[in-house]
Symmetry: C2
Subunit: 237 residues, 2 copies
């Protein structure tokens, strides 16, 4: 007879295992449709054992799972500050969209609103992730505090990425993920350009970023596509 | 002795008056901090009278107030389909930002999440407003169903407008409202250009929109600001 595996887990290992099981369930079903019995069954343990670790029940387990997912998500933003900024953004978005793809149901429930998932505590965790994303962009682009419009643009773009991710999941993951990622990068560049041309601090950020780009990258491709449009729009010059 | 004014109101008038009083309170305080007693006091009626009209209590009154606010908001999108699209957008955004300014606390509570305001019913109303906004943009720009990326861009921009509105309120209504509005128009144009250059259906929408713009309007001003940046970015061509 073998000793059941769970007897050999430390408190921390057991906690992690329960959170991982919960995350797996929340990824496929909205939190409303996941019970503690489901989590116990998925982890191969008893319901009382789940309660021993999470005496607050499903809400506590959900928040612990969200905390764990937020940590994973924040690690997506770790990117070395070298190379064209657009390439770094491609790398970050690839990791982020992996996460969205993998946690589809939980991601949607949390951000689409109207779910039991939305409490002031879960909102605080989501806001922390948004802040971490904005901080990462500020660092990569070396945005000074004086470039207030650029900062607003970064936060607005992040909201757009969330919305686009929800639309993408809702529409059966169309367009293909690489196209969505490239489009999000193009949106970023376009929004940065339109914002950067408005004042001197923004202009500095924009020109420094463009100077680091190359013609083979996404910014080069976008620039070459936009130039003919400006020719078509000669009546605006 | 005068007969109290409330005796003379019809059922519909009384209901509207209570909703208006509630909206006034929700505009200044989050829904958590508004009681039925507050609404009764603001309307100059008794608490039982509020309950007679809204037996479901505060939640029912809140949803009725939200329904009423959503109707006001959707009317903001009514704009004659004439003139440069960017000017129409300026008009719509002016009305929308009036609404945001006026309903600040309620707007924030509803959209920032983590509030008692967020239920599946309130989310459905908010989603309906978002859909109405997207439909209005689709109509003005005559976006065909084949232009899927443009449709995604419109919905993403709408999410960005919501986020920017929340940031604007949170930062003490900075920048001034006209600057925020002009920036949102510029973001729209930039996102439309970056999306329209990607495929033929999007290109048709983009060129048709640009053809209706003039050099005095916001698109002309943005174009003239961006052209020198392209010169600075000659290494990308």
């Amino acid at each position: 007879m073998t000793v059941p595996a769970y007897r050999r887990l430390s408190v921390e290992q057991r906690r992690s295992q329960l959170i991982a099981s919960a995350l797996g369930l929340f990824a496929r079903r909205p939190p409303e449709d996941v019970t503690l019995d489901d989590v116990a069954a998925a982890a191969g343990v008893s319901r009382p054992l789940v309660y021993r670790y999470f005496p607050g029940g499903k809400q506590q387990l959900y928040e612990a799972a969200l905390r764990s997912a937020a940590d994973v998500l924040e690690r997506c933003f770790d990117e070395p500050p070298v190379g064209p900024p657009s390439r770094r953004l491609v790398n970050v978005l690839d990791r982020y969209l992996d996460f969205v793809d993998e946690h589809a149901a939980g991601f949607t429930a949390l951000l689409a609103g109207g779910s039991v998932a939305g409490t002031s505590r879960t909102t605080a965790i989501v806001d922390e992730v948004r802040r971490a994303a904005a901080d990462a962009l500020v660092t990569h682009l070396q945005v000074p505090p004086s470039a207030a419009r650029i900062r607003m643009m970064l936060r607005t773009w992040i909201a757009g990425v969330e919305a686009a991710s929800l639309i993408w999941l809702d529409e059966g993951r169309q367009p293909p993920r690489e196209e969505l990622r490239d489009w999000l990068v193009d949106q970023f560049v376009a929004q940065l350009v339109a914002t950067g041309v408005q004042d001197a601090p923004g202009g500095d950020v924009l020109l420094r970023a463009l100077a680091q780009e190359d013609r083979e990258g996404p910014v080069g491709a976008l620039t070459r596509r936009v130039v003919p449009v400006v020719t078509d729009a000669a009546h605006l010059l």
